[in-house]
Symmetry: C2
Subunit: 413 residues, 2 copies
Amino acid sequence: MTHILKGMRVVEGSAFVAVPLAGMTLAQMGADVIRFDRIEGGLDAGRWPLAPTGESLFWAGLNKGKRSVAVDMKSEEGRELVTRIVTAPGEDAGLFLTNLRVRGWMDYDTLRQFRSDLITVTLTGDRHGRPQVDYTVNPALGVPDITGPEGHDEPVANAVPAWDLIAGNLCVSSLLAAERHRLRHGTGQEVELALKDVAAAAMGHLGLIGDAVLNEEERQKSGNALYGAYGQDFECADGERVMVIGLTGRQWSGLVKATGTANAMAHLETRTGASLRDEGTRWRVRHEITAILKPWFAVRAVSEIAPLFDKMGLTWSQFRTIRRAVAEDPDLSSANPMFRTLEQPGIGQYPVPGAPMTFSSGPRKAPVAAPRLGAHTEEVLGDVVGMTDTEIAQLFDRGIVQSPDFVRPRTAA
Amino acid sequence: MTHILKGMRVVEGSAFVAVPLAGMTLAQMGADVIRFDRIEGGLDAGRWPLAPTGESLFWAGLNKGKRSVAVDMKSEEGRELVTRIVTAPGEDAGLFLTNLRVRGWMDYDTLRQFRSDLITVTLTGDRHGRPQVDYTVNPALGVPDITGPEGHDEPVANAVPAWDLIAGNLCVSSLLAAERHRLRHGTGQEVELALKDVAAAAMGHLGLIGDAVLNEEERQKSGNALYGAYGQDFECADGERVMVIGLTGRQWSGLVKATGTANAMAHLETRTGASLRDEGTRWRVRHEITAILKPWFAVRAVSEIAPLFDKMGLTWSQFRTIRRAVAEDPDLSSANPMFRTLEQPGIGQYPVPGAPMTFSSGPRKAPVAAPRLGAHTEEVLGDVVGMTDTEIAQLFDRGIVQSPDFVRPRTAA
C-alpha cells in the first residue's frame, strides 16, 4: 500500500475551492497534508451545499484525507505554532500551499528565515493581489457572453467553478515542479499565480483571444451545439434528451450511418456546395443537419437508441439531473472503483470520489473522509512540531489551539 | 534563464484539449516537449477557431513551445521511429503523454520493452475506454440542468471545456508525481485516468453528489447568482452590466456600505427574522436583496461605480465580450507579463499567454509560438533518435517522415 507521493508532507492555509483542492489532490496521491484553520473555522467552513445536519458538504468534499489543525492565529503563540508546522524539518516537507491574504508573518520571506529551502505556492485572485472568484473572472473575460441559448441576449453564468478547479491543479503541478527542482539544486521557491491569469491563459490556449483579435466575426452563443464541428442535443420519443457528437470524421460518419441519413446529407452537400467531411462545414450548416436528424430521434425512445449507438461506437450521452445521474449511472457509484461510500463525520453516508488517476506501482488509494475541524491538532503538535504532552495540554488550556475531542492527559494536571 | 523543468523531455501523442494542454504546460515550465503527429496532422489539426488564413488558432494555442514531428504511422518504419522517440534514453526522458486510442504498438506493455522505466500517462474518455468530450460528460452528470437562467426549462451547455482543461492539468501532476517516484525507486509507471472520472470526482469534491444523495430539495438553475451566498449581476445607468460578490462577511458588509443600503437590509432582516451575516440567509433571500440593490445601480454609470468599489476593496467585475475584454483589459494584453504578442507562423500576430505561474528561482518564461506541423522532424531524428543525416534523408525520401522545410543535404544525394 505505498502510494505515489507517500512520505511527502504539505501544509495548507486555505479557503474555498482551488487551494483546498490542491491539498486534497496531493493527499489523494498519498501525501500527508495538514490544513490549518482558525479555531472557529475558515471562510469556507459553512460553504454551501450543506447537509441536512447543517454541516458543509462543500468543506467535507474539498478536505478529504487531510489532517486538520485549529489554531488561534490572532495570538502571537498561535502564529508561531503555524510557522513551526509550515517550516518543520524533513527532506520531503517544507511545502506550503496558500490563498490566505495574510501579510507579515505568513509571507514567504518571513517564513523562509525558519527554513531556507521552503517552497510556497500562493494563489491570488488577480495579478494585482485582489480577490477574484469564478463569478467575477468569467464576466470580465467574456465567458457569459458566449454561453447560453442561441440568440439569448443575457449573459449566462457557469454552474461549475472551472477556473478554481484548474488553478488548484496548477498549484499541484507547480508544487511538484518546484520540489523536483529543490531535490536537484537544494533551493527553495516562491511560486505565485492568480486565478484571473489562469483563466486568461486558458482562453488564449483555446484560441479565443486570437479569434477575437484576428477575425471579423465575433463568437456568438451557440446553445448546446458543439462549437466548430457538429454536436447537438435531441429530444427523443419518450421525452428524454440525448447529446450526439460528430466532431471527428469517424463520429460524423457513424452518426449518419446510425440514423440512416446519408441520402439527406448528400442532398444537403449538393444544395450547399460544401463537403460535410469538413468539420467547419458541419458547423456552418448545423441547423440544416439538425433538421435532418431531428425526426429520427423524435420517433425513438432512448431504450432503442442507446444499444444501437453503443454498438456502433458513437460518442453520445443522455441528459440527466445530478440526482438522476447519481441514481442511474454506475460511473457515479461504488461500481466505479474511484468511488467509495463513506461515513462523513457529522454528515452521513454518500459516495465519495478518490483521485481519478491510477498508478500501476501501487493499488488505487481509497478516498478518506474529511476530518472534523481541528481533529489532528494534538497529533500534529506532537509528531510535526515535536511538543510534549504537557506543552500541548497547556496550549489547549490557554485556548491557543482546539480539537473536537482533546482529552486532557492526567500527567498534565 | 534556467526554467523549473529544464532538462526534462516529454513525448506527446495527442489530439484536442487535455493532453495537448498537458504537454504545453510542461513546455511552458521549461521541459522539451515533442509532439508527434500523422503526416497529414492529427484529428485536431483543423479544429476551430480558425484564423483568417484558415490555420487553426486552437492548434496554435495548445501546442506552443513544443517540437513537432510528422511521421507516417501506418508504416512499420514510422511506428518504429515513434517508439524510438518515446523510449529514447536519458535520465530525465522516458515520459509519454497520450490520449490516442492506438492498440498494440503504442501500449505501455509494448513500449516498456524498449525502456523498462518508461512512464506513460494515458487519458481516455470514460473508464470503459470509450471516447467522451465535455459536451457528452456534462449532460451525463447533470451540469446543463443546473446551468442557465432561473426557471429556464432547457439544459444549457458550458462554452469552456472545463473537464478537458482540468484533466490536462491532472496529466501534468500525475506525470510529475510518477517521475518523482521513479527518481527514488527507479521504477516506471503506467498512469491512467478518464475524462468522465475527472468530472465526476470534481462534482463530488464540490459537494454536489452528497447534496443529491442527502437533501430533499434538488439543486436548481440560479442564473447569474452566486450559489449559496450572495453575488449578482446588475445593469447600470449606462447600459453596462457588473457582477458584485457578497460571499465572505467582509465582501457583504462592504457591498452594503458602498451602496448605502444598511437600513434597507436591516428591515429585510426584521421582516425575515434571519441574519444576513449568515451566508445561507443571503442565498435564501437573494431576490429581496437584489431588489434593494437594483435601484442603486440603475442610476449610476460604471465610471462612477468602478472607482468607489475599487477604493472600498469590493470584489466585482464588469461584463464584457471577449473582444472588448481583449481591447480594454490590460490583464489580457502585453501589460500583463504573462502575455507576449507573438508572430504565430501561418496565422499572424496576437497576444499569447505563457504559464500563469512564476517561480522565484528563475525569470518568467516567455511564451513561444507553436511549431508548424513537422517543423522539428529532422532535428528530433538527429538529437533524440541519434540518426545520421543520410539516414534521415532516406526517411524523407521514402515519405516516412515530413517537415515543412526539409532541405535534402548534398551528402545524401
